[in-house]
Each structure stands twice: as C-alpha cells, then as structure tokens.
C-alpha cells in the first residue's frame, strides 16, 4: 500500500510539474511575442522621429542656406550651395536609414507594395507573385518584409544569380514568403548572420524559417508565419 501511494504521489507530482512547465512555456512564448511587438512599435517611433525631427531640421537648415544663397554674390552663393549639397547627402542617408528601420511604404500601402519596391531596388531582375489580401498585424508584415529584404540582400551579395523571385501566399491562417534564386546555392544560416537574427524574430511569432540550398541548385528561403486568418 505504501509503495502504491508513493507511486501515485510521483505521478501526481509529474502531472503538476508538466502542467507548470506547459504554462511557463506558454507565458515565455507570449512574452517573446510581446517583446517583438514592443520592438516593432519602437521602430515605428524611431522612424517617425527621424522624419519629423532630424530630417525636418536639416530641411530647415538647407532652407536658411538657400535663402542666404539667393541674396549672396556669386562666390558666396557657390559656397552656400556646396554646403547645401552636404545637407542633402545627410538627408538622403537619413532617408535610407529610416527606410531600413520601418519602411513607410509597408506601413502605408502594405506588404505587396513594399515587397515590390524591394524587388525594384534589387539590382537584378526579381519577379513578385501572389497576393496577401487584407492588412495583417504589424509584426507579421514586418517579419515577412524582413525575410524578403534579407533574402534578396543575400542573393545580391553571395548567390551570383541571374534572377530571383518572391512568392507571397496566404492560406489557412498562414502567411508564406518564398524567395528563390538561380544562383550557386550552398547557403546556410550561419550563427551571427542576418538570417539567424531573423529566425529568432520569427520564432517569437511561432513562425518557421527554412533554407534549401544545394550546391549549384540555387537557394530558396521560405518562412511560414501564422497570421490569425
């Protein structure tokens, strides 16, 4: 009787511990999701501050220089114009920075438009196929966008590809992003790489990131992100 009681106690303890672990795991998962969502909100804020703060100030500065230039003699006007060149470079660099932090086009026009703009900026032919439909939560759209951005950056840097394609597809509550190229293959997710960072971000959304890249058979990066509907 004693041993039966002891065994039953162990089983009960096990059950209790397992339940505790399950609930802790769910809590960790939820908090990871919240951390990503908070980081995304912060990205949005930084992007807005760059545009409405630093960029506005630089435009104001350039306006002051322009006003002086329009009153000055030729030599002084030329010097002021060169100063304006520098200010304009700074504005252009800030613009690139802001776009990398939280692309305005993604916020305003959604995933398809933003991915098409990415494709256009990529210095090799990229076709974009598929549709996404309604707007999705911010972390889902950003996650999918960063997958396309990082994968296309890698295609340009490492793949020696002649072309690439991006497929966007939404089915049964999952958003799929596939980026395929016809390059040299042999890619993998290295520890400190952009893709590894991206995988962490995606795992917080319960999403998966897979890379298929046999030598000489091109590379496919695919992400599947649960998106609710």
């Amino acid at each position: 009787v004693e041993s039966v009681r002891a065994t039953a106690g162990l089983v009960l303890d096990n059950e209790r511990l397992a339940a505790e672990v399950r609930s802790q795991l769910a809590e960790v998962r939820a908090s990871r999701g919240r951390i990503v969502a908070a980081a995304d909100a912060e990205r949005r804020r930084i992007e807005r501050n760059l545009h409405d703060g630093a960029q506005q100030r630089l435009v104001t500065l350039s306006l002051a220089l322009g006003l002086e230039a329009s009153r000055a003699d030729t030599a002084a006007a030329a010097a002021l114009s060169r100063a304006q060149d520098e200010v304009e470079h700074a504005i252009a660099e800030l613009r690139e920075l802001a776009r990398g932090i939280h692309p305005t086009l993604l916020r305003d026009e959604g995933l398809e438009a933003a991915v098409e703009a990415l494709a256009r900026r990529t210095p090799l032919p990229v076709t974009v196929r598929g549709t996404v439909g309604d707007r999705l939560p911010d972390p889902v759209e950003l996650g999918a966008y960063f997958v396309a951005a990082e994968a296309l950056t890698n295609v340009v840097k490492h793949a020696s590809a002649t072309e690439a394609s991006v497929l966007l597809e939404r089915k049964a509550g999952v958003l799929r992003v596939n980026v395929t190229d016809d390059g040299v293959g042999g890619a993998r997710i290295a520890a400190d790489s952009g893709l590894a960072g991206l995988r962490d971000r995606l795992e917080a959304l319960d999403a998966t990131l897979v890379i298929e890249s046999e030598p000489d058979e091109g590379t496919t990066v695919s992400a599947e992100i649960p998106c609710g509907s």
Binding site: R48, H51, D52, Q55, Q56, L58, V59, T60, S62, L63, A64, L65, G66, L67, A69, S70, R71, Q84, V87, E88, I91, A92, R95, T104, L105, R107, D108, E109, A113, E116, A117, A119, R120, R121, P123, L124, P125, T127
Partner: protein
C-alpha cells in the same frame, strides 16, 4: 503667381514662404493640416498648392490624399507634393490618373530656389513634374523583357526627361540636340512602345506611363 503652402512644421513652412516671397512669388496662405489646406484652396483659388506628404493626424499620407482631393474638386489649382519618401509608388499614385498640373518633388529640393521655382512654374503651366531622384529610382530597376528594353539609350534618356514633364524644347536644351533629332527619337520610341494614333499630348503621357510603370 499665387501659392498656398501646407506643412505641419512651422519652420519649414515659413522658410519656404520666405524663399518664395523674396523671389517674387505671392504666398497667400500657410497651413498646418489637410482640412485647413482644403478650406484655403476653396477660398483663395491659388495657382499652386505646395503640399507636404506627411501631415496630422497620422503623419502618413494625408498630404497625398489632400492633393487628390484638390485635383478632383479644384482643378484650377496645380498641386506640388513635397515628399520625404523616395518611393515611386507615391508619385505614380498621384500622377497616374491625370498627369497634368501636378508634381512630386523630394522635400529637400524646396531649399534650392531655382529648382523650386522651376517646379512651381511648370506645374502651374500645366506640366507634370516628377523629381529626378524618383525617375532615377524607376530607371535603376532591371526588368524582364519588355518594349522599353528595345529602346536605345538616347530614346530612354528622352523618355526620362519627358517623364519629368519637359517639353520637346526643354529636352533639346538639356541634351543639346536639334528639335528635328529629338522628334525623330520620340517618333521611334512611340513606335516601339506601340503607341500610334492619338493627340501628341496623350501619346506623350502614354509613353511616359509605359516607361514609368515597368
């Protein structure tokens, strides 16, 4: 020339106004949001509205929406949108429907008085102005085979200038070509793009859209 300026940053708005006033332009109103802008355009009927793309309340594309509304409700007022975004999508949204009396200029251009005046005068004269940087962004993309690929470098150069809203005369001046040579290139470009009988203006617009849309 009578102008209204809409930008929610007072310093920027005043800076633009001073630059314009010193150069003989009449600034009839300065506004900080889209509603005030629309009311002012209705009351003042300015020749040109200079509109920042980001305005309250959400600071996303309020300016673009206001610009569209001005274009449909007050066609006598030309609209020049000032934008922080080097994104062709916004520019195309703005001009696609009716590429006249409208322009999309990068924000920092306003500080270059000759560029600002040039753009303002051209939209007021009915032209369509697209910032050189946006045109470059569109040009930079490499695409699958399409009729644009068939064009010679010179023809593409001319289309790019057309896309900026230049007249044949303006193109001649920029490229140092004779009017006859420019016309020959344009005819050849139209033919390659499959644009045949239509009014000259409409053909130009069709060609530019074919070129920008790729």
């Amino acid at each position: 020339m009578r102008i209204v300026i809409a930008d929610d940053a007072p310093l920027v708005r005043e800076g633009i106004a001073r630059l314009l006033i010193e150069n003989g332009v009449e600034v009839v109103d300065q506004l900080g949001d889209a509603d005030a802008l629309l009311a002012s355009v209705r009351d003042q009927s300015p020749d040109v509205a200079l509109v920042d793309i980001r305005m309250p309340p959400t600071h996303s594309d309020e300016g673009l929406r206001a610009a569209r509304e001005i274009r449909s409700r007050h066609p006598g007022t030309a609209v020049l949108v000032l934008s922080q975004h080097l994104e062709p999508d916004y520019a195309l949204q703005l001009v696609e429907e009716k590429p006249e009396r409208v322009g999309y200029l990068m924000k920092e251009r306003v500080a270059r008085v000759e560029q600002l005046l040039d753009a303002v005068e051209r939209v007021a004269a009915g032209e369509c102005v697209i910032d050189r940087a946006v045109v470059d962004e569109l040009l930079a993309r490499s695409r699958r085979v399409d009729p644009i690929e068939e064009l010679t470098t010179r023809e593409r150069e001319i289309l790019a200038l057309m896309a900026e809203g230049r007249s044949n005369q303006g193109i001649c001046r920029t490229l140092w070509l004779s009017p006859k040579t420019v016309e020959t290139h344009i005819r050849s470009a139209f033919a390659k793009l499959g644009i045949r009988e239509a009014r000259e203006d409409n053909r130009r617009v069709l060609a530019v859209l074919a070129y920008l849309r790729r």
